[in-house]
Amino acid sequence: MAEGIQLKNISGNNLEQCLKCSICTAYCPVSAVEPKYPGPKHSGPDQERYRLKDSKFFDEALKMCLNCKRCEVACPSGVRIADIIQASRITYSTHRPIPRDIMLANTDFVGTMANMVAPIVNATLGLKPVKAVLHGVMGIDKHRTFPAYSSQKFETWYKRMAAKKQDSYSKHVSYFHGCYVNYNFPQLGKDLVKIMNAVGYGVHLLEKEKCCGVALIANGLSGQARRQGKVNIRSIRKAAEQNRIVLTTSSTCTFTMRDEYEHLLDIKTDDVRENITLATRFLYRLIEKGDIKLAFRKDFKMRTAYHSACHMEKMGWIIYSTELLKMIPGLELIMLDSQCCGIAGTYGFKKENYQRSQEIGSRLFKQIKELNPDCVSTDCETCKWQIEMSTGYEVKNPISILADALDVEETIKLNQ
């Protein structure tokens, strides 16, 4: 022991490495618009020292943290500020979430219900009286457009239209589609299947898939999140036994499963963490190794502005999506200034947050309007809702852009 004294300075979530430089506070999307929020530095490393002294120093106000991790990305000293905040919330908070938060958090349950009656839900969620009820009774902001629910779940489409032929490929992957693809936007899932099939991979659903739980964590329902997370990891482990990498098209689900399960929810993931990956990363790496090739339509033209979603940035994987997009000859890619769009999962849906959510994103919306691209691209579905609602520009996942631009027949030929 004595040989290695003070050679390393380590502490839980790098608490001790905070130099109190306050840089994180400049990049926190919440503290500029919410004066009751003590800010990342103070909610995180500052108060953590006092919480270690006595749990009475836990301040409910830190729940205003969006867990966007922009503070961690900004921190020059590697302090896991948001992790400190989220962990303390799980450890110390005694308040139960309100019914509205439970509803918003249960994206798959609500999704299942809504899906069965999608046309009615879409119509009613858009109706003024219904919005007024949601606003008044449930606390969901009336200005908020709900993401449309699809009439056919992705899983249903997959089982009817795609499942059969997947076994005919020589190589295989699994797909964690997430709630958004399943209930709101199956097209993204279809796009992924199209690309993967073209490069010779069969795409399979997991044995059992639950919502990744990000919204549950954010709304203080960590117990339920843990249960769901365990189901997912079990399925992912099964896929791993069949040598199938699990692809995703949502940056947030990916981040939650890879990086939050273990330290926030105590779910053991180290054996399968590397089997979970974003589809753009998987494709990029195959292309770079020379294992697959993509061919693109000659007539494809698009000018897109890429928005760096918070969790994408935290994972450090933006480069995979953007490098992949850069391979499309007809595509002009503009990088937007990196900043939070303000939605932060379910945060922006709550009426008490609506105004702030819009303020947080205002600088981004302005930049998009000034650039006037054909569409915006991002890897996060909630950013998509927020940006589409706030700017009117269509927002596409890089996988969808890739699928649009792909010359399928040529690609199949190249990969035979």
Binding site: G4, Q6, N9, S11, E16, K20, Q47
Partner: protein, 532 residues
């Protein structure tokens, strides 16, 4: 604050440490007219430079049963009268593989004899109580150790003395003892801010100047055989341990880890030093080395925890009068009646002892003073709560209070109600690490003898956290200006404050602490041009 100043007192007490403050309180409570003088600031000496440990006495049970009994008695007294300065953490005495487990039995028996509750618990239980404990431990004993804040304890004693009519002068240094016909009649004081000298008279002078009592005695042509013993300690960046952790063996170097406020402190080393170094103690890398190596045996995570600073104090040990060689040094309380001892009437020296036995020391000195002054009034300090502990808890249990309010309450106790928290400007934090608000700083400036940033730090913990004053020092200096401190003085104080913080950081300036020092330098000297 000292509006009704007088120059005729029953007693003048020299020394603004805990002993002086405690003696001033006791004298004032017994109706004496008291003047307390301090050459710099309260708690500037050994009071502010120790562990902040409320000993149960267990540490001394085997080697010094008398001290042990004293400790446990005072421990129980302070829990009542100074509740707001104490955190009831309890302590563990752990036996490590290199220690003799048989000592545990001797230890528990000695504790029991001294009246200290000492329960043997299993290593598993010890680890459950405090997961930071070295997991290789063979055994543990649980005792009623606790942590105590000497800064706020001293402040509370001073406040109570003042409330009972005492006058208090800080930055007033005794430059001469006035005597006439073999009798002390008062002191000459130099104002260390202005250089101005004044005389104050009293029937009695009590020397409670700690190690500097040596100089005071000299001024009265008396010799006290003081043996300065330097003790060095390290402050770690956050609380690693929940309980006080000691080694279950004979007392040795660096074998106590105390959770204090939001930090923890390991100490101490013990070295005899020459008297001429006591105003300028140097911390050596060997001392730092010993502290870390021994510390990590108590709690292994210390090996990788950031060290904020190092500091050293001097214990005022006194050799027995019949032993000029200084070999038989007493660690107990020494109360000298100079009339009896040296034929000099009107002077008492109270020294030795421990921070946490200050009240008993004060009681002994005050008893003697009362006897000499012919006053027959019993000591009440063991039962009367100090300001901060006295009175009603002002907080409404159904109300949610800010973290800063809770932190301030941890420092000022029930006096927290005197802090202005009405406006947003007053609720704003100066020091974010230690949760010090503008309101608390203003309260300290108005009520607690604050002349500069260093005083403010000792009263509130401004600049005592992780960053050691990186931004808060400037903010605090601004608040000082807004509250009556001259701007040029505030700027000089800022420079001094930054230098004082660096002094403690320098012996441990590696890793994050060096990074922090560079950042502070970039901000104050680079960006702000301070000292350039």
């Amino acid at each position: 604050m000292n509006s009704k100043q007088n120059d005729n007192y029953d007693v003048i007490i020299i020394g603004g440490g805990i002993t002086g403050a405690g003696t001033a309180r006791d004298c004032a409570l017994r109706g004496l007219k008291v003047l307390l003088v301090e050459k710099f600031d309260f708690t500037n000496g050994a009071t502010g430079r120790n562990h902040g440990l409320l000993h149960s006495g267990a540490r001394y049970a085997v080697t010094d049963p008398e001290s042990a009994t004293e400790c446990i008695k005072e421990n129980m007294v302070l829990r009542r009268i100074a509740k707001h300065c104490i955190e009831e953490t309890d302590g563990l005495f752990i036996t490590l593989p290199e220690d003799d487990i048989n000592y545990q039995k001797t230890f528990v028996e000695a504790c029991t004899r001294a009246g200290i509750s000492a329960n043997i618990i299993s290593p598993e239980e010890a680890l459950r109580l405090d997961p930071s404990v070295n997991p290789n431990l063979l055994g543990a004993v649980r005792v009623p150790d606790a942590s105590i804040d000497p800064f706020h304890l001293t402040t509370a004693n001073v406040l109570d003395a003042r409330q009972h009519g005492a006058d208090v002068l800080t930055y007033h240094e005794v430059v001469a003892i006035l005597t006439s016909n073999g009798r002390v009649e008062g002191v000459r004081l130099r104002n260390n801010h202005t250089g101005e000298e004044i005389e104050k008279h009293a029937a009695l002078v009590i020397n409670a100047a700690g190690i500097w009592g040596h100089d005071i005695a000299k001024m009265a042509d008396i010799k006290i055989n003081m043996f300065p013993a330097k003790g060095t300690l390290l402050v770690f960046g956050h609380r690693v341990n929940k309980m006080v952790i000691n080694r279950c063996r004979k007392p040795a170097n660096a074998d106590i880890l105390v959770p204090d406020d939001a930090v923890c402190v390991i100490g101490t080393t013990s070295d005899r030093v020459s008297y001429d170094t006591v105003d300028n103690l140097k911390i050596t890398s060997e001392e730092v080395d010993t502290l870390i190596r021994e510390g990590e045996k108590l709690a292994p995570s210390l090996a990788t925890t950031r060290i904020l600073r190092a500091y050293a104090g001097v214990r005022p040990l006194v050799a027995a009068d019949n032993d000029p060689t200084g070999r038989s040094i007493s660690r107990g309380i020494v109360c000298l009646d100079h009339e009896k001892r040296d034929g000099l009437a009107g002077m008492i020296t109270i020294t030795g002892g421990k921070m946490m036995t200050y009240r008993l020391m004060a009681e002994q000195a005050t008893d003697l003073a009362c006897k000499k002054l012919g006053i027959d009034k019993a000591c009440e300090t063991a039962t009367t709560p100090l300001p901060g502990t006295a009175g009603k808890d002002p907080d409404n249990p159904h109300h949610t209070y800010s973290t800063a309010h809770k932190a301030a309450k941890g420092r000022q106790g029930n006096r927290v109600k005197e802090i202005d928290e009405r406006t947003e400007d007053d609720r704003a934090l100066i020091c974010e690490c230690e949760e010090v608000s503008v309101g608390e700083a203003k309260y300290a400036i108005e009520e607690l003898h604050v002349h500069d940033l260093l005083n403010l730090r000792r009263r509130t913990r401004v600049g005592m956290g992780t960053c050691q004053g990186e931004l808060c020092a400037c903010r605090a200096a601004g608040v000082m200006c807004e509250n009556g401190v001259k701007v040029d003085k505030a700027m000089t104080d800022l420079t001094k404050f930054i230098n004082e913080r660096w002094k403690g950081m320098r012996p441990v300036a590696w890793g994050s602490t060096l990074d922090e020092a560079q950042l502070t330098t970039i901000i104050y000297q680079g960006l702000c041009g301070l000292g350039i």
